[in-house]
């Protein structure tokens, strides 16, 4: 009897505690299954566009990493591609010379992305705001130039090719239609989303949100803002590195543009489009941006940039919270 009462008490505690409003919790619970269902539906509906859709999923994981940095820790960066490209090159080089297992390659990319973020973050996260923004750009430029000069390893401006990953889990070969690639990317994105959600809800994630708002106040609570920022930067670096490795594994090539400024900037555009500080905003923004990009570029190869610009302006002006805030309106979730 007492066990039953206890159980009832714990079960009802979150509801009374009001940790999250009901629509928000419903939406949270539905986010991952919805993502999986939509991803699979797209797989059946657009079998001819698997290549593009794989690129979208890879980019979504990359933009998710930027959301961790910018949305949850307030680190202004235009150099996230440094982590993506490092992960891509690390995985690519490992694939050419060392291993073929795709999961090991993802791990290699993640470690590489995390390490470069840890090393550069320790140096540059003293700065804030505009100074920091410039430093992140500088870091990405340096990494890109290193990749350009290390021709023997990276292929320089020709890019790194010859990445031929073995079958996934020893079972599923990467086929020429990109089916395995797509499903693999979908699974990795899902896993990344769930892990990221876990992190932003952890004590660490809460402390990082505090730093985003006021580092001095966090120090007055006994926290070390710099350490939290560097840790979050490194964690996001792992995500970006995995995304880079995923791109290397699924596309078979790595180019210098994976480290480029415009790839960093595009991530920012996609994130703002979807909505910062909410993980599925990153995914929504990436899907919207890359889909519109693809459709416009196909229909009007000369003016598509103009329309992308208008699309972005419209979103920022009329939906300041990004596309994700649309869903808030429908579910009336109680988010500030």
């Amino acid at each position: 009897m007492s066990a039953a009462t206890n159980h009832a008490a714990t079960a009802s505690a979150p509801a009374h505690g009001g940790r999250a409003s009901r629509p928000q919790r419903l939406r949270d619970g539905a986010a991952a299954p919805l993502l999986a269902a939509l991803g699979l539906a797209a797989f059946w509906l657009f079998p001819d566009d698997l290549g593009l859709m794989t690129r979208i999923l890879t980019a979504a994981l990359y933009v998710l990493s930027l959301d961790l940095v910018l949305g949850y820790a307030g680190i202004a960066t235009l150099g996230q591609a440094a982590m993506f490209g490092t992960g891509a090159y690390a995985a690519g080089i490992a694939a050419v010379h060392l291993v073929a297992d795709p999961l090991v390659l993802l791990a290699v990319g993640g470690v590489a992305g995390g390490l470069i973020a840890l090393a550069t973050g320790t140096l540059i996260l003293r700065g804030r705001g505009l100074t920091l923004l410039m430093l992140t750009i500088a870091v990405a430029q340096i990494v890109q130039e290193v990749a350009n000069k290390a021709r023997d390893l990276t292929g320089g401006s020709d890019g790194l090719s010859g990445i031929d990953p073995g079958p996934l889990l020893g079972l599923f070969r990467f086929d020429m239609y990109g089916r395995t690639s797509y499903l693999f990317a979908l699974a990795v994105l899902l896993a990344g989303f769930l892990v990221a959600r876990r992190i932003v809800r952890s004590p660490f994630g809460l402390a990082c949100r505090g730093v985003r708002e006021d580092p001095v106040r966090v120090a007055a609570l006994g926290g070390s803002p710099k350490r939290l920022l560097v840790a979050m930067y490194a964690v996001a670096g792992v995500f970006a590195g995995v995304a880079g490795a995923l791109s290397a594994v699924t596309s078979g090539i790595v180019g210098l543009d994976s480290l480029g400024f415009s790839w960093s900037a595009e991530a920012l555009v996609m994130l703002v489009l979807g909505g910062t500080g909410r993980l599925w905003g990153a995914i929504l923004g990436t899907v919207a941006f890359m889909t519109v990009h693809h459709l416009l570029a196909a229909t009007d190869p000369f003016h598509w940039m103009l329309f992308i610009g208008l699309f972005l302006m419209g979103t920022v002006l009329f939906l300041p919270g990004g596309l994700a805030s649309l869903a808030d309106r429908f579910t009336r979730g109680d988010r500030p």
Binding site: S202, P203, R209, G210, L221
Partner: protein, 253 residues
Amino acid sequence: MTALLDVEGLSKNFGGLQVSAGITLALHAGERCALIGPNGAGKTTFVNLVTGVLEPCAGTIRLAGETITRLPAEARVRRGLIRSFQVARLFRSMTVREHLELAVLEREGHTHRLFASVGRVPGLADEVAGLLDGMGLTAVAGTAVGRLAYGQQRLLEIALALALKPKVLILDEPAAGVPHAESHRILDALERLPPDLAVLMIEHDMDLVFRFARRIVVLAQGRLLCSGTAREIAADPRVREVYLGSRADVQPH
């Protein structure tokens, strides 16, 4: 009995301007002390020096016998030297509950945990509920702080300080900006502070000072002018003199 907080000869110059000139002050467990002085007397500078926001040019600060003069601010907080801010300094997009959760998690050193869930840290929910209840903030626990009334923000500032289990609590103008009709709620909260806590309050509201403090220390032009009970301070001609022009009316109620 040794003092919990022991400040000796604390000095600070900004260029040629001496904003803190050899201030010596000891605070014992259970003490209720107020630091007053006209604008520009160096009260906030003193708080910033003691809490580690500014580095002193000379002098020592000891907390429970340990010298903390050169420790960074967060290390002092972890040793139990806690401050509240003059202007409520809170995380505007976070809820009241999240603030207190963060404070308790920081105190317990949990914030390196990446994969734990805040909702499942043992004992956290109960402790936060107790803190909310203690300040009468339970009803607004889920409200983002940006939407909170100012008086409630001040109460949350005090609750945050308490969540860190302070040994020494420095309250920088806890009632600043609170409408007079509501300031009794702040006083109520202050009177329910743990009895063994050493409290140093900086405040302009003399009403609050005289009700709360057993000892008053007066600062003027970066120097310690005098210290004593409310009655002694109110009667001291030097105090009247430094307040002339800014606030001539110093009387216990």
